[in-house]
Symmetry: C2
Subunit: 349 residues, 2 copies
Amino acid sequence: MVYTMKDVANRAGVSAATVSRVLNKTHFISEATSKRVLEAVGELNYYKNIHARRLATGQSDLFGLVISEIANPYFSEVIRGFQAAAWDRGFDVLLLNTEYDPARTQSVIRKLVESDARGVAVMTSSIDDATTSTLTESGVGVVFCNFYSPRKLVSNITINYRRGILEAIQHVAALGHRRAAVIAGPETNGTAMNIRQALLAGLKHKNMAPFPVTHCDYRVDAGASAVRDILSVTDIPTVIFCGSDLIAMGVMSALEEAGVKIPEDVSVVGIDDISFAFLARPPLTTIRVPRELLGVTAFNALDKMLKLKRRLGAKYTLETELAVRASTGPARKRRLAFRSTKSAARSRS
Amino acid sequence: MVYTMKDVANRAGVSAATVSRVLNKTHFISEATSKRVLEAVGELNYYKNIHARRLATGQSDLFGLVISEIANPYFSEVIRGFQAAAWDRGFDVLLLNTEYDPARTQSVIRKLVESDARGVAVMTSSIDDATTSTLTESGVGVVFCNFYSPRKLVSNITINYRRGILEAIQHVAALGHRRAAVIAGPETNGTAMNIRQALLAGLKHKNMAPFPVTHCDYRVDAGASAVRDILSVTDIPTVIFCGSDLIAMGVMSALEEAGVKIPEDVSVVGIDDISFAFLARPPLTTIRVPRELLGVTAFNALDKMLKLKRRLGAKYTLETELAVRASTGPARKRRLAFRSTKSAARSRS
DNA sequence: AAGACGTAAACAATCGCTTGTCTCGCACAC
DNA sequence: GTGTGCGAGACAAGCGATTGTTTACGTCTT
């Protein structure tokens, strides 16, 4: 049996309104009545119906978090930070993943509007303008990562990859590296392109224009074919910059199978510092992105913005830094080349 | 501006009831009217208010998924399977993680009841009886994994670890291994204890009673201290069975730092087959747990159970199987022992 | 002692949607 | 021509909370 506020009211001998006021502390109620009501609540094991509440108040304790892919560990900590921040303030989180599918993104956004979410953090970069305005037009606040500039109901968090990337480049330069390669994330991904640009610019600046520059998917077998390209170069680069740790791990795997030693033959640098970067063999040198902080900042940005009268968005910046581990070492002296790329092309079983 | 059903009704020149019926296809409405309504919906960009709907129907399109920890990749695919199954049927998923905290578990469950969830999949094993009945008493269906037996409103999915474990034991036995060690998950975790039991029983059966048998946390630095224990044994075991892939990866990391070669010196076997098991160096031999299927099955179990008149739960079983990779090899012939355990105790930086 | 005032709680409208029931109008049958 | 049946929609009563307004009852003032 599930009881309603009226049941509680009857049992306590008061009106439903009083029960509501006791529970929400929204009006002064005498100690005695209050106690009686609370007892009744306890005895009936009463739970208020959130939907009725939301309907009556027109407010929905709900925030949305849109990500691309749940299986990507990049998002795990973002989720964690966001949820933690939201729960601390008594809000619920609806987690929605788009699986990189625009149609799905659409329906996910629709769901958010229907659910009357207060705000939404969009942590995926594959979202279009129309979809965004669907949200803002319904009065839902939005915060993006590396995307769009702030305006009414829209905030932005920018991750400053440049700093970490510069550190990384200095690090490898100091180790004597001169020939670099870059394996960036998908060309359709805005953030991946940002990172790519920052890498290319930084390397060029140090007179280390990278070759080759390739792309790969964030998902499966990340980097295997990119590695093939790299190993087919006459004189193989001494260091490879990867657009994400996931890519880097795929790359290390493929390199090792091709008989390339890390870091003796080739150094590898990742981006993100996912927890597995630490457990990788060798532990991955990577550019740390404060992902949990990203989640927390995203929530705070929404919360703050929605409290403003004009609900004007703001811009936040998060810094990155280099985490040096064992996947980078002194540049090799000898020349390294593979006559054939067969061994690299061999697929992992 | 956000419109209501009445606005749509006015614009289409019909009553709100008709709009509702057109939108839900719950009553035959003439083609012409239907079209007019749909047009009005489009013109106003109308979104129905889910809370009002839920209040009116008393049904909530919401399912809950309770996990321990979002950062654990074990859960990622479970989530994915569950969400996919739910969305296919038009249901929403509220993801709740307990962070292994009983208090949090309590409040999470309360939230679920308040939100009037239809069903809840509890994929964490740290939950008590009282909390469970909170759910069932409110008419919320529950499905557990490796926990509780089916009854009204309660279903169970059992993962049959034994089969995969037997395969694994046979595999290492065939490779000549005789001395094994076991590093199980936390003693407070029911599933971890199941696995431990199955391992001990299986090994004993093959006359390979493991030594030592230790425990460790699922979380941080998994296995580092356990490795210390193992390396302090006079004649180090030739194979280590780990209670999860996460532990196995921590263990491999620690072993390698202690100068132990895998699999030449020691073989390692994990459980779960998380995606990183594949990228580990060496790729991890592990017992595959069908996690995405677990998620899907959990949802289906709920869905099915709730459609039953008596809403009686059922029991499902999922099988495991061995995935052989490179972390297991022929047992070493020579004796291996560390005089001091310093190198093993050295913490990773 | 009568009015003013403050406090504590009840009343009742409302949120937006669903759904059982009723009405209206028309076609068909006898 | 009246009765019957039926299709298409309107009406209105909820769902369970919140909240502005009102009421009842003391107490304080003068």
